[in-house]
């Protein structure tokens, strides 16, 4: 290989070194690993591994130099674009180094240059499987800063739609993680129900994904005619559908073999790593923000929080299925006890006036014009609100300075935090199990990279 070729391959290595030199520091761990991988061609890497093998064929397992393999970023089982630099000793993973940022779109920066109501559109696009939870965290923070009361009906609508979103998110997880392990059928079953739920989303919000349905002050609209009947049909049918999924997987010997005992960490370590959601509850920690810090009227609902024992991939699977059943119960309670009243606050300084008023009221027209062109101003301060998303604690930290645009919007995405658990989990596991671990953590890379 010519030195020119080597230069091309060493580009990333050189960039990392130059950046470190510019800032007057040593290479950090991840930078060193990436530089090491990039500094050699595949042929060189194979030659080095062969040489290692010849040298160390007599040595005990674990004493050989590791083979370094780049898993991703473009790999179907990484749920997006996750790159894992994997140090392998035979089939055993010695260490992994996650490299993220391939889906970074600068949403937090863009939010600073948009008005508060425009920001809603941006945050739905982070974790694209749970848009309602992203907006819910965001609007709650803004409402807290505004000291704005959300009408009871709006809160219940939010709970109802959030729980439906939890079901669709878990269904995508179920279908795709089944696919990764070769269980093809479950994908069709899961997506069949997901599609019906997306139809319902489309009916109520006009969009199948990235739904901009929650507004600051409430929800964009009330339930359209016929929605209640269709949703009721869906939730009546859903328990038997979940039975079907369980019939396909829960006792399936291959599924059991692949997921049992895989990817478990002690509960203390999970808490230390900040891991939340089903991954934490599977390890026996009863932490659900809907119970620990009830928001949006969750204290009025009767539901239980499923908790596992082993914390392995199988427990996570069981917990997500049970969570879907609980979500069905919550939606039923929403439909039964939906309070009467407005679906959005009537504070004209924040909320758009109803369409019908625009033709007859000059004041409404002025409010509408001001809200759309300039946006509403939010008193100076900072607020952090979090909701329990399908993946854990979805938090939003908003800093306001009294103007119509936020100074800072930071999203604490559960996928980002939970992904840190992958490294300790994967150490000394089999490479094939690494895929199960990625799948069972249910990280959405759009949320990780934001």
């Amino acid at each position: 290989m010519s030195s020119e070729q080597a230069d091309v391959f060493a580009l990333e290595a050189r960039e990392a070194r130059e950046a470190a030199r510019r800032e007057g520091r040593e290479l950090a761990e991840t930078e060193r690993i990436v530089a090491q991988v990039e500094a050699s061609t595949p042929q060189e890497a194979i030659a080095r591994t062969r040489a290692n093998e010849e040298l160390s064929s007599e040595m005990a397992p674990g004493s050989r130099a590791p083979m370094i393999i780049n898993l991703g970023p473009q790999h179907p089982s990484t749920h997006g674009v996750l790159r894992l630099i994997t140090e392998l000793d035979g089939e055993t993973v010695r260490d992994i180094h996650p490299v993220i940022g391939y889906l970074h779109t600068g949403i937090e920066k863009q939010c600073e240059n948009k008005t508060y109501w425009q920001g809603i559109t941006l945050v739905t696009r982070m974790d694209y499987l749970s848009p309602f939870f992203n907006i819910h965290a965001y609007t709650q923070s803004v409402e807290k800063l505004l000291d704005l009361e959300v009408p009871a009906r709006a809160q219940w609508l939010r709970v109802m739609i959030s729980e439906l979103n939890r079901i669709t998110s878990h269904l995508v997880w179920l279908g795709t993680s089944g696919l990764e392990l070769g269980a093809i059928s479950i994908f069709f079953y899961a997506y069949r129900e997901r599609d019906r739920a997306l139809d319902l989303f489309e009916m109520i919000s006009g969009e199948r994904m990235n739904n901009r349905f929650f507004q600051v002050g409430g929800c964009a609209d009330d339930m359209p005619p016929g929605f209640e009947t269709l949703l009721r049909e869906f939730v009546t049918e859903m328990p038997s559908r979940i039975d079907e999924y369980e019939g396909l997987l829960s006792q399936n010997p291959i599924w059991l073999e692949r997921t049992r005992g895989v990817g478990s960490l002690p509960a203390d370590q999970l808490i230390d790593l900040g891991i939340t959601g089903p991954a934490l509850r599977a390890a026996g920690v009863d932490l659900d923000l809907r119970k620990a810090r009830p928001y949006s009227g969750y204290e009025h609902f009767d539901f239980s929080v499923p908790v596992g024992t082993n914390g392995d991939a199988y427990d996570r699977y069981l917990i997500r299925l049970r969570e879907m059943r609980e979500s069905v119960r919550i939606i039923e309670q929403c439909l039964d006890g939906m309070p009467e009243g407005p679906h959005i606050s009537d504070n004209r300084k924040v909320v758009l006036p109803p369409r019908g008023e625009l033709a007859g009221s000059m004041e409404a027209l002025i409010h509408h014009f001001k809200l759309v062109t300039e946006g509403f101003s939010v008193p100076a301060g900072e607020a952090y609100c979090a909701v329990e998303s399908p993946r854990g604690e979805m938090g939003c930290y908003v800093v306001a300075d009294g103007g119509p645009k936020p100074v800072r919007v930071h999203m604490r995405d559960p996928s980002f935090v939970n992904l840190q658990g992958l490294r300790p989990m994967a150490k000394n596991a089999y490479l094939a199990d690494l895929i199960v671990m990625i799948g069972s953590m249910d990280n959405v890379m759009g949320g990780v990279d934001r």
């Binding site: 990333e12 960039e15 990392a16 130059e18 950046a19 510019r22 520091r25 290479l27 950090a28 761990e29 991840t30 930078e31 990436v34 993220i100 940022g101 970074h104 600068g106 937090e108 920066k109 863009q110 600073e112 240059n113 807290k144 800063l145 000291d147 370590q269 808490i271 230390d272 790593l273 900040g274 891991i275 939340t276 920690v285 932490l287 620990a292 810090r293 008193p379 301060g381 900072e382 607020a383 952090y384 979090a386 604690e393 938090g395 930290y397 800093v399 100074v407 800072r408 930071h410 604490r412 980002f416 935090v417 992904l419 840190q420 990279d449 934001r450």
Partner: protein, 161 residues
């Protein structure tokens, strides 16, 4: 004064600079920057028992706090037993922003601090792996600083249309 301020003041005298309450149930306690790790270690243990660190992030306050600080760090603590939340605030300098890392206290701080370093250029002393996390390693500048322009980056292939 919140109970947590009293607790911190009793255990780490002189560490609390100020306390802010509101909006709603939000409580923010400003900590002297050099004491942050000590205070975090205290708050994680009994009796405060903030076993979980939810988030670490930063705000670039261009005007600063009048004492040479520009970067305002926010640590969101969460107590799993009581459900309480507490925010710690620490200021970092405009010229050489550096704060002690709390990765030794909560492992989860690792990636949060890398993100703050990547986006704001605030360095964390004793961090095990302080490298960029979302931006490429050779990126110049720190995008979430308030003086970093939006739309300034080159768009690839834009001349091909």
């Amino acid at each position: 004064m919140s109970e947590y301020r009293n607790l911190i003041e009793a255990a780490c005298p002189g560490a609390v600079v100020e306390e802010f309450e509101g909006p709603g149930d939000e409580v923010t306690i400003e900590i002297a920057a050099e004491r942050i790790r000590e205070v975090c270690r205290f708050l994680k243990a009994e009796p405060a028992a903030f076993r979980q660190l939810s988030d670490v992030t930063c705000v670039d306050v261009l005007d600063g706090n009048g004492r040479g600080g520009r970067f305002r760090l926010a640590y969101q603590l969460f107590s799993m037993d009581s459900g309480d939340r507490l925010r710690l605030r620490v200021w970092a300098d405009a010229d050489q922003p550096e704060v002690d890392s709390v990765t030794q206290v909560w492992g989860t701080a690792n990636w949060h601090e890398r993100e703050v370093y990547d986006m704001f250029g605030v360095r964390f002393a004793d961090h095990p792996d302080l490298s960029r996390i979302l931006m490429p390693f050779d990126w110049e500048g720190h995008p979430l600083r308030r003086d970093y322009p939006i739309g300034g980056e080159e768009v690839k292939f834009s001349d091909a249309v």
